[in-house]
């Protein structure tokens, strides 16, 4: 009962070089398409969507092509004066995911002061639970993604003192599995996206020492499939976003060389849309800003020239992290 490997085959006529100009145009077009259906119907994730798009553009050295003053007014209007949290867009509720996205965007543009920073800090701190975990908003959903969002936001604001870091680390430690990976909650199955969140969390809190380094790095490098793409869990299809979640995790563990860079690069290139620009999850699928950012960020980690260096912990340009004087832990 041999189990065939789930994978894709790359087409001979696939794009093989980076279509940087097209990707920039793709992103810029998205920011000018308020009347577009896809754009309007996704307002429940707008803030994160803007972070994906703007970071992608910045990594392509094209940030100046999109200077919109109303961007900052928009972000400001999404901060809830009562809780201090930030929502995806108007008519939506504050949430940690969008709070982090807003803070990331404003750090990139060096405009963090337009926010009520005390409000943001108070909001994040209010979501920490007695066991050290974080709830995504006031409705109590617990997930290691939110632990990452909390410490990423607070470290960018230099306010890590506002939460109980030791307890937060203890919670992450309880999410560690038999394979060295991490899941969304204690005893939940390992998943590359959540492994990134937990390693990013431990990188910010300088506690990568609690990781079973080689066990986890082995699990991570086994995510690479014959097509060169990476999957997020065993026996799953490859997807460009895992290029980022897996690769940045390997980078944080000092094991980037445990997968083949050339094969991964080929896979990401093949996921570019040669007509519209943008990158999709797999070759031939519809491109979107999410996969465009994570494809570009992965190429940056692989050392691709013409793309700005990305920071593996924050998924933001390294120059921004340097400007803020942050030094998240990376194992040598």
């Amino acid at each position: 009962m041999a189990t065939p490997i789930k994978d894709v085959v790359l087409d001979e006529n696939r794009p093989k070089t980076l279509l940087a100009e097209k990707h920039a145009d793709f992103i810029i077009k998205l920011f000018h398409s308020e009347d577009n259906y896809e754009f309007a119907i996704t307002d429940y994730l707008r803030m994160s969507g803007m972070y994906w798009g703007l970071t992608a553009l910045d990594l392509l050295h094209k940030r100046d092509k999109l200077l919109r003053v109303d961007l900052f007014d928009f972000i400001k209007s999404c901060q809830d004066p009562e809780s201090g949290g930030i929502s995806a867009s108007l008519n939506h509720d504050p949430h940690l995911l969008h709070t982090l996205s807003a803070v990331q965007i404003l750090c990139m543009y060096d405009k963090i002061d337009i926010l009520d920073i005390e409000g943001v800090v108070k909001y994040v701190a209010s979501l920490q639970q007695p066991d050290g975990s974080f709830s995504g908003d006031k409705w109590g959903e617990i997930d290691t993604r939110f632990s990452f969002c909390a410490v990423a936001t607070l470290s960018l604001l230099k306010r890590m003192d506002s939460i109980d870091v030791d307890k937060a680390v203890k919670f992450i430690e309880t999410c560690k599995n038999f394979d060295g990976g991490f899941g969304s909650r204690p005893l939940s199955e390992s998943h590359a996206g959540l492994i990134y969140c937990c390693l990013g969390f431990l990188s910010i809190t300088n506690r990568l020492d609690i990781v079973d380094r080689d066990t986890l790095a082995w699990w991570l490098c086994e995510r690479q499939l014959p097509s060169g793409g990476l999957n997020g869990r065993p026996e799953k299809l490859p997807d460009v976003c895992y290029s980022w979640w897996v690769l940045s995790s390997l980078k944080l563990l000092g094991r980037l060389h445990w997968i083949s860079s050339t094969d991964l690069e080929n896979f990401i290139m093949a996921c570019q849309d040669g007509e519209t620009g943008g990158i999709s999850d797999r070759p031939g699928d519809v491109a979107d800003p999410y996969h465009t950012l994570f494809g570009l960020a992965a190429l940056s980690l692989l050392g691709y020239s013409n793309i700005k260096m990305v920071n593996p912990t924050y998924c933001m340009p390294q120059e921004v992290i340097d400007r803020l004087g942050l030094k998240p832990q990376v194992l040598a």
Partner: protein, 312 residues
């Protein structure tokens, strides 16, 4: 956007689609505005709730709408506080549970729907956990890799006090259906605290799996975990090494067998140097067989060489 194939369409199809989309967008905007308008003053509003359910059935990721529903639920709970068990309240809550089920059938990976469901049940005066347990057992037969389902199952068994033994049997059952199911192996690892008593049993199960299909990755991860336990004796390790060597004869290009041999020789070489030489050979072969991961094998090869160097 995951797994959405790009399709070419004619101008006519495009126009039709655009019309359809504009209609959907109008409905979405109308619902969002209606909810926003009625939410603050009087959360409960029949129209808003209905519109909100319509949007969520199409897209359960619109998280704000679930929040709105929770506000209404809290209001209903508050109102029926003093009465014994209010039938109207129960039927209201059952309706919420039904809505999540409807959403989950189309979007079984919707975080918000799973959360809403459990959130409601926690506040339900007469929660039917048994029914939830049957439902989740059924869902796992549809997709036994959906980690939301496994997480939900964990929550439910804690509520109804299912025994560990029962869950172990369940995981054995799932594994016997499909050894390649990584989620079942993971689940099993959370039920087993490795000790000398269960080691024998686990080793037998996982050995059975890797011998059935050595090219399937899942069970090898479990095997590595079992072998990381010090209670696995050297005698056992040598025995397994012998069986793996035989298996390799039948499938000489299987990297998993070679890798497992390296784990075994790695721990055995601490007491017997001839295993170290074998290990070096196997890593060299792995580099050829599995070039994607040659960086990993090179690192281990270096370590293995160094180990011999220091011992000599």
């Amino acid at each position: 956007m995951h797994g959405r194939l790009k399709v070419r369409s004619t101008e006519e199809q495009k126009l039709l689609k655009q019309k359809e989309q504009q209609k959907k967008l109008r409905a979405y905007k109308y619902a969002m505005n209606q909810v926003a308008a009625t939410r603050k003053e009087i959360p409960f509003n029949k129209d808003s709730l209905m519109l909100c359910a319509q949007v969520l059935s199409v897209n359960p990721d619109v998280y704000t709408l679930w929040n709105y529903r929770k506000e209404v639920v809290l209001q209903q709970l508050e109102m029926s506080k003093d009465e014994e068990v209010d039938d109207a309240l129960v039927s209201f809550l059952e309706n919420e549970i039904k809505l999540t089920e409807q959403c989950l059938l189309d979007n079984p990976k919707s975080y918000s729907s799973w959360h809403h469901r459990y959130w409601i049940l926690q506040r339900h005066p007469k929660p039917n956990w048994q029914q939830e347990f049957s439902l989740i057992t059924k869902y796992l037969t549809f997709d036994d890799r959906n980690f939301h389902c496994w997480d939900y199952r964990r929550l439910i068994i804690n509520k109804i006090g299912i025994s560990l033994c029962n869950e172990l049997n369940f995981s054995t059952e799932r594994l016997n259906i499909n050894f390649s199911n990584y989620s079942s192996w993971h689940y099993r690892s959370t039920l087993r605290k490795l000790d000398s008593e269960c080691l024998e049993e686990e080793l037998e199960l996982v050995q059975n799996a890797v011998f059935t299909d050595p090219n399937d990755s899942s069970a090898w991860f479990y095997l590595r975990w079992i072998l990381s336990d010090r209670n696995v004796t050297n005698e056992k390790r040598e025995e397994l090494l012998e069986s793996l060597t035989q298996l390799l004869d039948m499938d000489p290009d299987c990297k998993w067998i070679l890798m497992a041999k390296c784990w075994l020789t790695g721990s055995l070489s601490l007491t017997d140097n001839h295993f170290a030489e074998k290990r070096i050979m196997d890593y060299k072969k792995l580099k050829e067989l599995d070039p994607l991961r040659k960086g990993q094998y090179s690192d281990y090869l270096e370590c293995a060489k160094k180990a011999i160097g220091t011992e000599k």
